[in-house]
């Protein structure tokens, strides 16, 4: 199945501003999808998205359609949401105080 992924914020310099279209196997998880993108884009994308334990960095938020993904193990296509664009936001703490 084909998935469209778009990156926002402090990651576009690595992943680009245009959406990525990927073919992923049925019952793929969000982690599978992002790993495929790391393969395509390069390790700098991993550094922006993941910590060393392989979990999403705290400033990364992923949405499938309008719903925020709760876990990297979330299956794409659950809850009839598949088909919607996957949006990956990398937020930055432009400091306050």
């Amino acid at each position: 199945m084909q998935v469209r992924v778009r990156f926002y914020g402090f990651v576009q310099d690595v992943a680009g501003a245009s959406p990525h279209a990927l073919d992923v196997p049925e019952r793929s998880t969000l982690r599978n999808l992002l790993e495929l993108l790391v393969e395509r884009v390069g390790e700098r994308l991993r550094e922006r998205l993941f910590n060393k334990a392989g979990e999403l960095e705290a400033n990364v938020q992923v949405f499938i359609g309008d719903s925020q993904a709760g876990s990297l193990e979330e299956l794409l296509g659950d809850d009839q949401r598949f088909g919607a664009e996957v949006k990956v936001f990398v937020l930055t703490a432009t400091a306050g105080g």
């Binding site: 914020g9 402090f10 310099d13 937020l91 703490a93 306050g96 105080g97």
Partner: protein, 858 residues
Amino acid sequence: MESAQVQDDRWIPTACGACYSVCALLVHRVNGTVVKIEGNPDSATNLGRLCPRGVSGIMTLYNPHRVDVPLKRTNPQKGLDIDPGWVEITWEEALEVVAARLKKIRQEDPRKLLLTGTVTTHDEVPFAKIFAMAFGTPNGWNSGAGNHCGTAEHLFGALLHASWSKQPDPDHCRYLLNFGTASGFGSYYCVSGMAQRIADARLRGMKHVAIDPFLSPSAEKADEWIPIRPGTDGALALALLYVLLHELNICDSDYLKHHTNGPYLIGDDGLYLRDAKEQLPLVWDPADGAAKPFNSATVRDFALEGEFSLDGARARPAFSLLKEHLKPFTPEWAEPITAIPAATIRRIAKEFGTEARIGSTIALDGKVLPYRPVAVMYFKGAQGHKNALLTCMALELLTEIVGASNVPGGLLGMNACSLGHPDTGGPKWIPHSDRDGLMVTGYWPNIPPPYPPKEVKEPETIDLRSMVPTCPGSSGALPVVMADPKRFKVPYEIEMNLHVGSNYLMTFANPKAVEAAFRNVFQVSFALFLDESTYLSDIVLPAASYLERLSHTADWMSSNSPVGEWCYHIRQPVVDPIAQRRSVCEVLLELAERMEMREDFYAFINLVLHLKEPYALDGANRYSWEEIVDRRHKSFFGEEHGLEWFKEHGLLKWPKKVEEVYWKPFSHARVPIYFEWFKPLGEKVKGMSQKLGIDLDTSAFQPLPEWRPCRSHRENGSDYDLYAIYYKFPMQTFSGTYDNPWLDEVSQIDRFAYRVAIHTETARRKGISEGDWMEIASVSSGNIIRGRAALTEGIHPEVIAIAGCGGHWSKFLPIANHEEKGLCFEWLMPVGLDNVDIPSLTQDQCVKVRVVKAKEQG
């Protein structure tokens, strides 16, 4: 005025913007002209009260020295006092230049854009941060890193109080131990409302003990003033902890067992001992004589003291380690450091510990809660030193060991828990716990919050925050790194500074050194005035002031009152923008259009401002600023509470629930009294710094507090015998209000506002009399400043104190730029990492100086 001539006579509700307290206003407009500003009595934030700055806003609105048109510099030379050679340009030309440059940088490397601002621009800077996020830069800096931000204090706000800042419970506190803050006395958050609430608290008998080198505007209203040597607050806190735990045996065991990591077992490596199966921190259950995961349902009791053996390894509860650690820190140890007699330290500890009333309860709204009516307050004064992290830790532990954290009478995180409006449930944030059982904030203005700890990464930001993730906000390292990014292995240089209203040249440290960091950057400033920092600008855009603009938000967690009612305000224009002034937020939206960045900007606006369907912005459509603000209000408060409703009513309020204000007894989240993760994080920072060849002192990353001397305690050059400190002055906000004629007038009436406080005896010894000119030379920066002496016995004999942030030199600020209009303290402070607390990246704000009588003319 004859009534027949009056065509327009309205009182318009809006919100102040003269500081970060966001007091509610009623503005009287007659025939299109503002004639008076008063506090809005309906607001729970300021209770109708208003400070001199708020009343004087009218003089900022109509100040003839305001920037009224876009300007372009013609002089390519930049410098602190080099005239930029401003010429007027059109908005069209300005926006074309700015958009083209932004677009180019975004295409090449978005990290090369820096956003600078200040917290007083409550709506503009947060919205500009959204712009910066969409742009793709990680670089931002609020100039509060220097002389106004609490920096390390905010870190402990996140770790212990789920909040950016804290306040004493004004409804129930009976003993306020105040380490140099102006909370309730003239500045700090929620300023006017807290002034009323703390005045009421004093009337009902709350004792206020001020620990401060100077009998400041806050300390002069205390029941007792205890002068302390600057930068030694941590030593005093350690001695107080010693007396409480080792001499008086006072602590709240029940609180420590159930709401802190005090019972967590620590191994000889300083880390938690964890169970083999789930890797959860272990506690010792004395009832069963066994170690169990902290959250096991079988735990019948928690050991706080003792030594146990787990598979042959020594295990001690964190509280036990803390108590043992404190043994050297006796009052006799602290006396020569702090200059406070040991007997006074013992008396204060006893008063504090007794008034904590451990074991007592209070019933509020039918709920029985712990009653601990003592609070320890501190902010910039105690914190703004090289020893910031460990000082804050010691100060916080005073509150924690007596269980006075976020319970009635104690120290409250400001709006740490919000269950939302009764009709919509929004806005909502609730502290929760992580897998180790420790508290994670429900809301944090910078993303992400400091806990859980982030990984240490190579410097990708221009301020070392990616490498030192414990820095909670503005970094004291930015000017150092920005001046020489290659030295710090930052793979780019800042090319452009989007500068929203801060006067960073006067508020951080040595202006000459800060200027060197910014001189070669293309700077676009949104400005009210041509202040000193705009001397480095290439384009200046005339910004609308808070009385001329609409805001998407006039509130944040620390502007609301800590008790009473939730209260959300509108900020709306009371007059149309004068001349060619424009709202910063509207200009940013237009820039996004010109840069073809609308879709990204809207996506981040939806995310950060929580615009949910049906109020989310659609990137296919263009929205006006009014439409966006309308959607923001409706998304939080429902369809009936849109912009038009707020314009008419001014504010929306509802009562705070007991479980919101005093959230701790209702929460399972624990807070640390042993900061276990600091040590391994520090080792990672050290490893990274060694790898990159950067010399960083990471020794303060430790789980328990100490007191360490700052640079000012060690630098004792010949005749440099006095400490120079600055303090916040209630009549002025940072450096931004000194050209306001009314505030200038009241500042001239106050004997200390524009002069330098020096002890009478110290002055006599130096041959200095009241009103004499003094030369103040910094041992650290080498700079010399001049000011007139104000003699007083209300200051530590080793200290001189400088009010606020005067000493302007911009020729475009004709009211402020006279020698007798205060001093810019920052000339005395050096820029450099040896003046920065590395774990929090806090800039020290205390320095040794030589003071001599000077000639009348400079």
